[in-house]
């Protein structure tokens, strides 16, 4: 399945242009939500494990006393300290993952995207730190209002952090190649009507056949037959080929696909 990427062309110092597919706002948003879920999961797991240990060693009272003591001695500063810890964990998560995973985080990896510098190089620690420190501004109130607007306005879907650090978020996923049959029924290979049909085929028609064959298993049975029938009848009409009615349209398309490839080999 494909995404609909935009592209950006990066020119290296050697004047070589390299095209990258820019990650869309939706994909980035999903990656962020996955990361937040991951963070939440990790924090809750840590709290659960810590509580379980405290409960197991019967030190609950001691911990409560310690927390109360801390509150009495630090007062409001404790709240500030907790906010700071939260910020360090949140930002540190992104900085460290992006630095050690070459611009990726678990969320980004799940969506097949990663951060690069705008000259195409891998992110440095400084770049990662700058883009993630500005995340605080982008995610005002933890709901990403400013980041969303800036990404929407910017043609390369960059948020403030990206603009400050000179980074881009790009897609890594390569287009999937459909699995197609490589064998051809020998009795079919010499069928003159089939050869005539293939002889009239254009590349655009071949692409339709190829797309159908690679996606037919996902189609509902009724529509699968209809689409196959339509393609075969249109191809036959264009070529004036008389294909036997008993033949299954899908089988014809499989042979057409292979024969077309054979024909381009001859070219």
């Amino acid at each position: 399945m494909k995404r609909k990427p935009q592209t950006v062309t990066i020119e290296t110092p050697e004047h070589i242009e390299i095209q990258f597919q820019i990650a869309g706002i939706g994909t980035r948003l999903l990656a962020y939500l996955v990361d937040r879920l991951f963070q939440l999961g990790c924090v809750l797991s840590l709290i659960f494990v810590f509580s379980a240990i405290v409960f197991a060693v019967r030190q609950t009272t001691a911990i409560v006393d310690f927390a109360e003591g801390l509150w009495h001695s630090l007062g409001q500063w404790l709240v500030a300290l907790l906010i700071l810890c939260y910020a360090v964990v949140t930002i540190g998560y992104f900085v460290l993952f992006e630095y050690f995973w070459a611009g990726s985080t678990p969320g980004k990896r799940s969506q097949h995207i990663r951060v690069i510098r705008k000259d195409g190089r891998t992110l440095t620690f400084f770049d990662s730190a700058v883009r993630n420190l500005l995340r605080f501004v982008d995610i005002l109130g933890d709901v990403y209002p400013l980041g969303l607007v800036v990404m929407f306005v910017d043609i390369h879907n960059r948020r403030l952090g990206d603009l400050a650090a000179g980074t881009l978020v790009v897609l890594e996923q390569e287009a999937e190649q459909p699995e197609l049959s490589e064998t051809l029924d020998p009795s079919r290979a010499s069928d003159p009507e089939l050869r005539r049909l293939v002889g009239h085929m254009t590349a655009a028609e071949y692409q339709v056949v190829r797309k159908f064959l690679s996606r037919r298993d996902q189609l509902d049975e009724e529509y699968r037959r209809t689409v196959a029938n339509t393609i075969v009848s249109r191809l036959s009409a264009a070529a004036g080929a008389q294909l036997p009615r008993a033949s299954k349209p899908e089988a014809i398309l499989e042979h057409v696909e292979i024969l077309y490839r054979e024909r381009t080999r001859i070219l």
Binding site: K4, I155, E172
Partner: protein, 483 residues
């Protein structure tokens, strides 16, 4: 730093054709090896030479193409020139159809006729270059072009970036892909789509204002509402009820229906006008309103049925268990009833998601009332993959959840300044008006994006399950045209 290992790429330019027969033969051959243009368009294009076929052909591909096209009567310029001794070393290479040749930008833009570069390009002779771990989509020799054409190239790159949403064909998308495309369409057509929501909203606002003014005048004329004579009440009620019903139909349902129609036009690659969007759905307005009522009734019925059955089941279980269990464990009898509560919330929620595409079914397929609800239910059955979370209901649920997050963001963005303004300034009335205006703006933004997302999801389902995109492609590219 790593050394460049990229293979040399070649630019192929058709600079001449032997005669008209050669033109036809070359067009026929090219139509078989490109996915970007039809034979007719290629034939037309061959009438205006020179034509840069590609700027990124590999050596083998360049040799193959050159040999093929020259044998058919075309004169080609290859940059850098192909080495003579390698010309035959092409083995089993095929010229497979690809998007590499004749990109859509080249077809669409008149600035494509770039002067053939004078210098040759060889990657082997390059100095060190930075390491790039992300796989590039394509490599083009920019150094091989003089400065002016390079500017043109950048202009073309920019055009590719901006024109992506309009030219993107329909095909199955991932959840991220649907969201990306939602934002792309939003970016490209925001003002037109927003106008569909804003125009009826403004008219409704103007009518409400006029009503308020009239009411004020009436209030001034009569000492108290209670003093109004009975005939005023009767006439008022008779006029008001149909006005309210028609008002809701026009100002709430009409923009929704028009949005669905307009976004569908965008998805199908057609342009639309705001007035046409309204005109197209006018006849479907009454079925749309009635089907929406049916949807709400069905949902209410589901909630009632699950709630009642859950309550009865829970109570029965609770009473039975309280007789069986000892007195100290009676509280346990109510535990399953409490645990069942999420189930009874989940059932109406599930029904809501399954019926939520009734509007698309009605506007785009003319399936009204129960048929529209059934169609939505059927469309949302099945899975996009093998895992449970790829079921269509879950995918739509995730999309709706993401949109809930976006809604919070947008509300924060629009309501935040209004709240600040209200509390930071002494003008309370102005603050209230600002809150209402900004809230309306926020609703417009959310309305446009959520409608885009659901229409895209609807088409995604039809592409996946019914091969709608394949049928459209077949109609457009396969066999006789215009059928």
């Amino acid at each position: 730093m790593e050394r460049e290992t990229t293979e040399t790429v070649y630019t192929l330019v058709i600079i001449g054709l032997r005669d008209d027969r050669a033109r036809r033969r070359v067009a026929a051959a090219l139509s078989r090896v490109t996915t970007q243009m039809s034979a007719d368009r290629i034939l037309e294009r061959l009438g205006k030479l020179p034509w840069t076929l590609t700027r990124r052909a590999t050596r083998k591909r360049a040799i193959r193409l050159t040999r093929l096209l020259e044998s058919l009567g075309a004169r080609l310029q290859v940059i850098p020139p192909l080495p003579e001794d390698l010309a035959l070393d092409v083995g089993e290479t095929q010229i497979m159809p690809s998007a590499e040749l004749l990109t859509e930008t080249q077809v669409a833009n008149a600035t494509q006729f770039i002067q053939p570069p004078e210098e040759s390009y060889s990657a082997e002779s390059l100095p060190e270059r930075p390491a790039m771990e992300a796989r590039p989509a394509a490599v083009t020799p920019a150094s091989a072009m003089p400065p002016e054409p390079r500017k043109m190239e950048r202009a073309l790159s920019r055009e590719r970036e901006t024109s992506a949403p309009e030219s993107a064909p329909m095909e199955p998308l991932t959840i991220g892909g649907i969201l990306d495309r939602t934002f792309q369409i939003g970016r490209a057509y925001f003002w037109k789509l927003a106008a569909i929501v804003v125009i009826p909203g403004l008219i409704a606002g103007a009518i409400s204002l006029a009503g308020l003014l009239l009411g004020s005048v009436a209030g001034l004329a009569l000492s108290s509402v209670l003093d109004w004579p009975a005939w005023v009440w009767v006439v008022g009620t008779i006029i008001l009820i149909p006005v309210v019903v028609v008002g809701i139909a026009i100002f709430v349902f009409l923009p929704q229906a028009a949005l669905i129609h307009a976004i569908s036009e965008i998805c199908l690659g057609r342009d639309f006008r705001v007035t046409d969007a309204f005109r197209a759905v006018l006849q479907k307005l009454l079925p749309f309103v009635l089907t929406s009522l049916l949807f709400m009734l069905a949902l209410f019925g589901t909630m009632l049925a699950t709630g009642l059955s859950g309550g009865v089941l829970g109570a029965l279980y609770g009473f039975t268990a309280s007789w069986v269990l000892p007195r100290s464990l009676v509280w346990l009898a109510w535990l399953p009833a409490i645990l069942l509560i999420p189930v009874f919330i989940a059932v109406p929620l599930y029904a809501w998601v399954k019926w939520s595409l009734f509007g698309q079914a009605l506007i785009l397929e003319d399936a009204a009332y129960g048929e529209a609800l059934q169609r939505s239910w059927r469309l949302l059955s099945g899975r996009a993959g093998t895992q449970w979370y790829t079921s269509h209901v879950t995918r739509l649920g995730i999309l709706l959840l993401v949109f809930a997050v976006i809604q919070v963001s947008v509300s924060f963005l629009f309501q935040g300044p209004a709240v600040l303004f209200t509390y930071a300034t002494p003008w309370q009335m102005t603050g209230k008006v600002a809150t209402h205006v900004l809230s309306f703006c926020g609703n417009v933004v959310i309305g446009v994006f959520s409608a885009t997302c659901t229409v895209l999801f609807y088409y995604d389902l039809r592409n996946r399950k019914e091969g709608l995109d394949l049928m459209l492609l077949a109609g457009e590219n396969v066999g006789p045209r215009g059928e």
